[in-house]
């Protein structure tokens, strides 16, 4: 059943990881009802990692606060293992450092759990298509991260930290004040596709920031990822 009236999703496979059984089942059921294929569910970080690696779904719907491994750690480990699965973070706790960490570690999108069912399904589709799922809150965090890295003096001469272009900054600020891609496209006289490309570039630069850090992190698991300001 496709209550949202949208076209039936092309075959999209999903793994759902959430330690809250009620929530996990509801999410899985919504996905199945909407025509997605739920390959597996997981209730802690380790099984989320193991099952995602085993089944390589299109999308991993990942709760940020799992026992065992945190959401950011799961993302980092998947990126390290070269698993092509795209990750959508679901969190009940709002827009915070741990969300930013997970996105830097390779998650493609982020949604608060209070989002509606349709919004959630649309986010899973967008994630499967490789489109970043942005909330205003996440955009604010990402913008702050670029500001922080720049203020800290950027990277090393051999490895400069990619900075945002003025246009990317502008778009990020629009997203951070609640504008949708369509609205932004109309305001800037750009195509919807161009705006999306900018957003994807922003994500790419963000993840480039700490790719090296993450590779190291994945090996020395247990490092404090919550504080990216430390040179580590």
């Amino acid at each position: 059943m496709h209550q949202d009236g949208s076209t039936p999703p092309e075959h999209i496979s999903v793994v759902v990881a959430d330690d809250h059984p009620m929530w996990r089942d509801a999410v899985a059921r919504d996905l199945v009802d909407a025509g997605f294929e739920v390959l597996a569910t997981a209730d802690d970080g380790r099984s989320a990692l193991a099952r995602t690696r085993a089944t390589t779904p299109d999308v991993l719907v990942l709760d940020l606060n799992l026992p065992g491994l945190s959401g950011a750690e799961v993302c980092a480990a998947l990126a390290q293992a070269g698993v092509p699965t795209r990750i959508l973070i679901l969190s009940a706790s709002g827009d915070h450092q741990d969300v930013l960490d997970a996105v830097k570690a390779g998650a493609l999108g982020y949604l608060v759990k209070s989002a509606g069912r349709e919004e959630f399904l649309a986010a899973v589709r967008a994630t499967a298509a490789g489109e970043p799922v942005f909330t205003a809150g996440l955009a604010g965090l990402v913008l702050g991260e670029f500001r922080r890295v720049k203020a800290a003096g950027g990277g090393t001469p051999e490895r400069p930290v990619p900075e945002l272009t003025d246009r990317e900054t502008e778009i990020l600020k629009y997203v951070a004040t609640g504008m949708g891609y369509k609205e932004i496209a109309a305001t800037l006289f750009l195509s919807h596709r161009t705006v999306q490309n900018h957003v994807q570039n922003i994500f790419g630069k963000l993840q480039m920031h700490n790719r090296v850090e993450l590779a190291r992190f994945a090996m020395e698991r247990g490092l404090d990822l919550a504080d990216p300001t430390s040179p580590a």
Binding site: S93, G94, G137, R148, E183, A186, T229
Partner: protein, 430 residues
């Protein structure tokens, strides 16, 4: 060992007072009368030292009397005085009493022993500079008072001993004066150390209490996060699909979820440090504007401004949001974005409402209805910043406040904020 120190306040001069009837033998409010287990380790060490010192002082006094027994007129009296001192020393060893009352008794015994020298020695011997019978034994009482009552207690007890010595010799000798000064110094210094130790002990206890409170809050936040928030979000979501009455209940659950989420995410201890340093974090100051339909969007790091400036900015944001409420319609949503690009701190307030028709703001100024324009632009101009109010093609109004950030080339630190003026001098000590 002060294992039951003060637990059974024994008064040698009167009937034994049950501890339950005399909870405060020290007789002073505001300070723990029982110097028990939570007492600072330094204080406990001093008590042990006093107990040992008393024996050494007794041995020294006995040796001194023995050494000059030939010149003592009434040797029996001197022995009797030493016996009293030995008895008290034994009592304080077998059953240590760390109370003001016990040490008052000891001080009286010590001073009486000094005065008794007058009875057992000939005046010429005393004037000649002979030692008193108790010699340094009363010093134990001085140190005891210093430990009990800090530097004031130490000085008071030392003064009493010194005064007694002067009375005893009648004509002060060099020994009398130097001993008195020595006693005053000892009482004052030890008392001062004890004061410091107590203060630091209290500070430590307070820090531990705060830490425990924070841990408890974190634990609660986790519990709320793992259970309550998830459940409320779940109810909200399912109820919306059921519709009708359930949808209304679900919306209530959703509201509560938002409130709770904001509450439990307030776990930044560094806020305290910034509050002390005089800088304010805009993220914290603007937290209250967040409610249904208004979202605060902020970086993970603090957005710091001097307190006075920050308060003005908050007032401007409130004015802008108030304007949204009045003009953009009930259903309008609003976002407040905080952005510190290193040069300026920018606060952008955007709403999804109808927007301001071009020229309407200027018109309002012309009509004398200053409203938004004056309150926002005026405030920002006072701060050396600027405010721009625009209306987008997609509808809705965007108010952008820019405040120059005087802390240029600051390194964002998550753990403390510096006053801009004092930065250079504090650079090396993060």
């Amino acid at each position: 060992m002060p294992r039951d120190a003060g637990a059974e306040p024994v008064d040698p001069g009167s009937a034994v007072v049950p501890a339950s009837l005399d909870p405060s033998p020290a007789g002073e409010r505001g300070r723990p009368a029982r110097l028990a287990d939570d007492e600072h380790v330094l204080v406990r060490g001093l008590w042990r030292a006093v107990d040992v010192f008393r024996w050494l002082a007794l041995a020294y006094a006995t040796w001194a009397v023995w050494g000059r027994h030939g010149e003592i007129a009434r040797l029996g009296g001197a022995v009797a005085v030493l016996a009293v001192l030995a008895a008290w020393t034994a009592v304080q060893t077998l059953r240590p009493m760390r109370t003001v009352r016990a040490y008052t008794v000891e001080l009286v015994i010590g001073c009486s022993a000094i005065l008794a020298t007058r009875l057992v020695d000939d005046p010429e011997v005393i004037t000649g500079g002979a030692k008193t019978i108790p010699s340094i034994w009363p010093t134990a009482a001085v140190v005891g008072f210093a430990v009990l009552r800090g530097w004031r207690g130490g000085l008071a007890a030392a003064s009493l001993v010194a005064a007694t010595s002067f009375v005893e010799v009648v004509q002060p000798t060099a020994n009398t004066i130097s001993n008195s000064i020595f006693g005053l110094l000892l009482g004052g210094c030890i008392g001062y150390c004890v004061d410091l130790a107590r203060a630091s002990h209290e500070a430590l206890a307070e820090a531990m209490r705060l830490d425990a409170a924070r841990n408890e809050r974190d634990r609660l936040a986790r519990t709320v996060h793992d259970g309550v928030l998830q459940t409320l979000a779940f109810i909200n979501r399912r109820a919306a699909e059921l519709g009708g009455e359930a949808a209304r209940l679900g919306a209530m659950a959703g509201e509560q979820e938002t409130i709770l989420r904001t509450l439990v995410s307030q776990t930044d201890l560094a806020e305290v440090g910034r509050a002390v340093s005089g800088d304010a974090d805009l993220r914290v100051l603007l937290r209250h504007v967040e409610r249904a339909g208004v979202q605060l969007v902020a970086p993970a790091d603090a957005v710091l401004l001097p307190r006075r400036v920050a308060d003005e900015v908050v007032a401007a944001v409130e004015a802008a949001l108030d304007n949204v409420r009045q003009h953009a319609g009930e259903s309008a949503r609003a976002w407040v974005l905080l952005d510190d690009d290193g040069k300026d701190v920018a606060v952008t307030i955007r709403d999804s409402g109808r927007g301001v028709p071009a020229g309407r703001l200027d018109e309002a100024v012309g009509q004398g209805r200053l409203g938004v324009s004056s309150s926002i632009r005026g405030r920002l101009a006072d701060l050396g910043g600027s405010a721009s109010i625009t209306s987008g093609p997609a509808g809705g109004t965007t108010v952008e406040l820019r405040i120059p950030n005087r802390r240029t080339n600051r390194r964002p630190t998550r753990h403390h904020g510096d006053e801009p003026d004092t930065r250079p001098s504090r650079r090396g000590t993060p």
